[in-house]
Amino acid sequence: MLETGIPKLDKLLGGGIPRGRTLIYYAYPGVEGKVFGMQTLYNHLKKHHSAIFLTTSCSPTPLFKELKEFGWNFFAYLGEKFRVIDSYSPFIGTKDELGIPMDETEVIESYTLHLLREMENIGEPTLVVVDSLSTIMDLCGEYETLEAVREWNRYAKIHEHVIVYNFTAWPYSEDVLQELKENTFEATIMIGGIAERVIFGQYFGLLKAEWTPAERKSVLFKVVRPGGIRVYVPKIVVTGPHNAGKSTFIRALSTEAVSVDRLGTTVALDRGHVEYKGLSVDLFGTPGQERFDPLLKIIGGEAMGVFLVVDSTKSRDFVRAKQMLESIKAYGLPFVVIANKQDLPDALSPEEIRERFSLPRNVDVIPTIASDGVGVFEALERLVDRIMEDGINEGGV
């Protein structure tokens, strides 16, 4: 198995990529997809294995210098066992001594010729990283490139090479995108952004891998320098009016929780950490009193999503809750409303609360009894789904 160098991803792939297989990092525009291919390449070289790298949008020298920020020294591996095909420098009319220059960069056969030749010359099963497939499609045409990629993949299969492609999913023809996502490679890794008005988080997930069952799960990540891809734990804010049960809600969810109470109510901050079904989430509670609103501003600014907890029996607090909801909406954050204290007499049903808040059907209002832990994990799963699905459905962003 060839490891990608991203432990969480290797786990999803059942250990890595088997020989003779191909994989696409299918990234939506604006998210950091390029790092995936480069990390896979560096991880492989580091183990003193051979590799071929095709660069299409940057000359090798400045690219490798730039990648030093990640702590990756590609220069150290250049030679017979690490070959760089450079289509970019000839394209813009410059020279770069590190790579094998390619001519006719707008003709797909030229890519085929160089790739197959280097795969043959290297003399052993190797890793080929193409960065990026989208640039080749831009230069040589979508359908022509797709046809050629099939040929490269067939060749790789026969000779047990692994090919990894970086790809940015610009709005190409729908059928080409579909073909790339579903049928052209043995594994597809989706890399997307969580967006409301702007992208404010990135995730990756396994769409398919023919050698292992795909777990439909998305993993949030950040790109750090040095280091590369790091799995990221989101921050979820729990807010709501005074005495709605926010601290109880956090405690019911958390494997560890801390709160600063005075006279039975939260005056500072609740914090909780949840490990649940492979989710790793940090929760931050805000005090309900109005004088703490600036705190909500600070906490809300970096949050990935929000729970708005309301006491289903206290309709007089709904005005306050609605104000809080407005400030959450102003941040453009995904949120779920928690209709808490459902065990008490006079509790309004989730539907009645939806009406009072004039919430559209697509906003979740989840009934809970936080003191008994009822409904809290359903609410967590729902909110995390909402955070993820904004990016995953409809091609995200």
């Binding site: 990234a27 525009p29 604006g30 998210v31 950091e32 997809g33 390029k34 299409t56 949008s57 940057c58 400045p62 690219l63 210098k65 730039e66 920020e69 970019y88 394209f91 813009i92 410059t94 990026s132 989208s134 640039t135 831009d138 230069l139 940015t168 610009w170 709005p171 190409y172 952004g193 967006a195 008005r197 702007v198 992208i199 404010f200 501003k297 600014g301 970096e302 102003a330 941040y331 453009g332 962003v397």
Partner: protein
Amino acid sequence: MALEGYSLGIQRLDDVVGPVPPGTNILIIGPPMSSKDVLLMQMAAYAFMNKEAVIFISTNIPGNKLVDMLHDIDGFDEEKIGIVDCIARTLGIMSPETDLIQMASSPVDLTGIGVRISKYFEDFYMRKGIKKIRLIMNSLSTILMYSNIKTVYRFLHVFTGRTRSADALGLFGIESDMHDEQTLSTLKQLFDGVIELKIEGDKEYVRAVGFTPKPTEWVLLEEGGGD
């Protein structure tokens, strides 16, 4: 709460066009040697004065030079500007990326340019809470030198869309004489309006198309660029 519209920052145009709604994308077309770049700088200056954030995608001036040019403008605040430098790396400038200047590998590296635009949108909108953002690209022509129209169209399709959903104002400059009519009309489809510049004799005129039922009158720009 709805955002109020954006003034362009060019008095003569604002007089006839008025504030444009958030999410507007404008193409600014002018011949070489026209005041297109000056207008873009004035639009950036106006943003500084009004505490808006600016994402400046520079395809023809290295980021550090651009900072030198912007530095003396009133209201310049490093916290509110992000430069995506698409040219420095190709000139062999290997200075590291900073919060102020992010480097794309080259004008061909549309993926890299896109990643950096998204970063700044996130930084201003989510972290700094600045809801009014101006996205300025000084020359689409440079991008078009390296990538074909289809590729550039796809890129712009995505990023004019992002500008729209972030309620920002997108301002994209392009040289009129470097591209054929078909290229320009293809690109125009992606924009809500066009600002055109022309030079006649030693005078320079500007008009706005697409903001009012009919194009505005050509108005004279004062000597040395805008007013």
